[in-house]
């Protein structure tokens, strides 16, 4: 709390600067721009999932479903109700936030454990998937919807798409940083360790969990809607559990839960691995699996914490793992993200 805001903001600014420079290198290649943009989409989902699972013990296996809510709702509002695309995206974001907040509220009130929340939200994902398939009049079922002309035209402007997504991601990192620099950060640290002790210490655990779920779901819904626009096409499968939730889970675990930069580093690594194994064709899945197993064996806590403690050994000032020195550690993490 005593950390000056300039230092708190430093890792966020560093990441923003590095990622803002990416189009200078690959801006000419639409293919590479697309990979970079999809990396930002994944990073945003992972930031949200970090808040849900990492900090408030809410295993929401419905990130894809919430994103599809954002995507489909925004597109349908523009197509059928002729809403302005910005208004549609805003409404879709609010709808996703309300849905996530509601799921969280029910889970907390009914006292669902972490795994049970996982099962329930996975069931929600399957329900949403089948609804999208079944409500053909609205969603075109398996065929999907061509979204060109129904959004802000991000699909036709790769650079614009990249920077819009970057702005959203940087804003979410800044919000995360602010949250954990405030007294709310102490509350979240406490409740992620033990909810009963947190409650006995005067922390309104229900309110924090529901608020975090609503905020994270808003981010997911927003990015889901932007994805619908930039991708030019949506179908139930682009938002399926295997396409969204599993990569998000893997990216967060790889990068490091409960860290500022873990979601970004994890998303970058995931995208990189995804590209590296592409040439293997049929062997892609195998190569992918081997790489993931190796990464998990080497970086069980995630890359960011490992790098932090490695740097911490060399730089004594970074060593203490208390929340007050977290800002410095995140700066150390920032150099990793920059590579």
């Amino acid at each position: 709390m005593s950390v000056p805001w300039t230092r708190q903001a430093a890792p966020v600014v560093a990441v923003a600067a590095v990622l803002a420079a990416v189009p200078l290198g690959v801006g000419d290649s639409p293919y590479q721009m697309r990979i970079a943009t999809l990396m930002l989409v994944l990073a945003c989902y992972a930031v949200a999932f970090n808040l849900l699972f990492g900090h408030t013990n809410q295993l929401f296996l419905c990130v894809g479903a919430l994103a599809s809510l954002g995507g489909y709702l925004s597109v349908i509002l523009v197509r059928d109700l002729k809403l302005a695309s910005l208004a549609a995206v805003g409404l879709a974001t609010v709808a996703a936030a309300a849905t996530g907040g509601f799921l969280s509220y029910v889970s907390v009130r009914r006292g669902f454990g972490v795994l049970f929340v996982g099962i329930v939200t996975l069931a929600v994902s399957l329900i949403v998937h089948n609804l999208l398939l079944g409500l053909r009049d609205l969603t075109n079922g398996e065929t999907g919807i061509v979204t060109r002309g129904l959004g802000m035209g991000l699909g036709d402007h790769p650079l614009k798409a990249y920077y819009v997504l970057l702005a959203v991601m940087v804003a979410s990192l800044a919000a995360y940083r602010w949250l954990f620099g405030s007294r709310h950060g102490a509350a979240l640290h406490a409740l992620s360790e033990d909810e009963v002790s947190a409650e006995l210490s005067g922390i309104d655990v229900t309110r924090y969990k529901v608020a975090c779920a609503a905020g994270a779901s808003a981010l997911v819904g927003l990015v889901g809607a932007l994805y619908a626009d930039l991708n030019g096409f949506i179908s139930p499968s682009v938002y399926a559990v295997g396409h969204v939730d599993i990569p998000v889970l893997v990216a967060l675990l790889l990068g490091g839960m409960r860290t500022l930069l873990g979601p970004v580093v994890g998303a970058a690594l995931f995208s990189l691995v995804d590209e590296l194994v592409r040439p293997f064709g049929q062997l892609t899945v195998l190569a992918y699996g081997v790489l993931l197993v190796a990464l998990f064996l080497l970086f069980r806590q995630g890359v960011v914490p490992v790098v932090q403690s490695a740097l911490g050994r060399r730089v004594p000032a970074l060593r203490a793992p208390s929340s007050r020195t977290a800002a410095k550690e995140e700066v150390a993490g920032g150099t990793e993200a920059g590579r």
Partner: protein, 254 residues
């Protein structure tokens, strides 16, 4: 502030059932400001359940709980905590990866009705750590402490929230006589220096009877006796229900 005569805690007709089991039966009790009240009874008598009802972890089926004359029945635990109730758990849970100091700061930040500023928070943390004599362990992660140290951290966490009423659950089980003595001295200091009333559940009979001015005896969820320790220890109902013929043995073993 409350009037001097107003009890800090007043429980009236508390009944709590778990399925067919009646854990608490029409329990009525009061704790005066700055009082040190012992709550004893055999295993399963409902002592911890009563503390849970008071601090809001558990909702009574009937009856009311009042703090300083204001009803708090059915309020969630965090709201009761902010109204000045500190609860120390029998088996401390705490926040394993937080340090001692960070843990106590959580109590200081969220446990009181006022929102203390940074300086005030730091002072409350210092005071609480000073009182439990854990100042030199402040940077250690709580997960690395032994059970007794964890209990003291939990106590410090509760104290940092400036409680009017402290609910202490078995602070002393497994301690040797010297440690027990230090612990009872600590509770007396908490009462005198911090002005908190203490409702104290304990199995170590010597420690309770020798320290408190009033003791409440629960058996099968009902209050069967209360009063000064010397008087309660001679009460025939207490001797029969709880202390039994082995009272002397229990005293020695305790």
């Amino acid at each position: 502030m409350s009037r001097p005569s107003e009890p800090v805690l007043r429980c009236r007709g508390i009944t709590k059932r778990f399925g067919g089991v009646v854990a608490l039966r029409d329990v009525t009790l009061e704790v005066e400001p700055k009082a040190l009240v012992g709550l004893i009874g055999p295993n399963g008598a409902g002592k911890s359940t009563l503390l849970n009802v008071v601090c809001g972890l558990s909702r009574p089926d009937s009856g009311t709980v009042e703090l300083d004359g204001r009803p708090v029945t059915g309020l969630p635990a965090h709201a009761v905590a902010r109204r000045g109730v500190g609860r120390v758990l029998q088996i401390p849970r705490l926040f394993p990866s937080l340090t001692v100091e960070e843990t106590v700061r959580v109590g200081a930040l969220f446990g009181s009705p006022d929102s203390p500023g940074p300086a005030q928070t730091a002072r409350r943390v210092d005071e609480a750590l000073e009182l439990v004599e854990l100042r030199d362990r402040r940077t250690e992660p709580v997960g690395r402490l032994n059970t007794q140290e964890k209990r003291l951290v939990d106590l410090a966490r509760a104290l940092a929230g400036q409680p009017k009423l402290l609910l202490v659950d078995e602070l002393m089980s497994g301690l040797n006589p010297v440690e027990i003595q230090r612990c009872t001295a600590l509770l007396r200091r908490v009462r005198e220096e911090r002005g908190a009333a203490i409702l104290w559940v304990e199995h170590v009979m010597d420690a309770v009877l020798g320290t408190v001015e009033r003791v409440v005896v629960l058996d099968h969820g009902a209050v069967i006796a209360q009063g000064p320790p010397a008087q309660v220890a001679k009460d025939p109902a207490v001797v029969e229900a709880y202390l039994g013929v082995d009272f002397h043995a229990a005293e020695v073993a305790g």
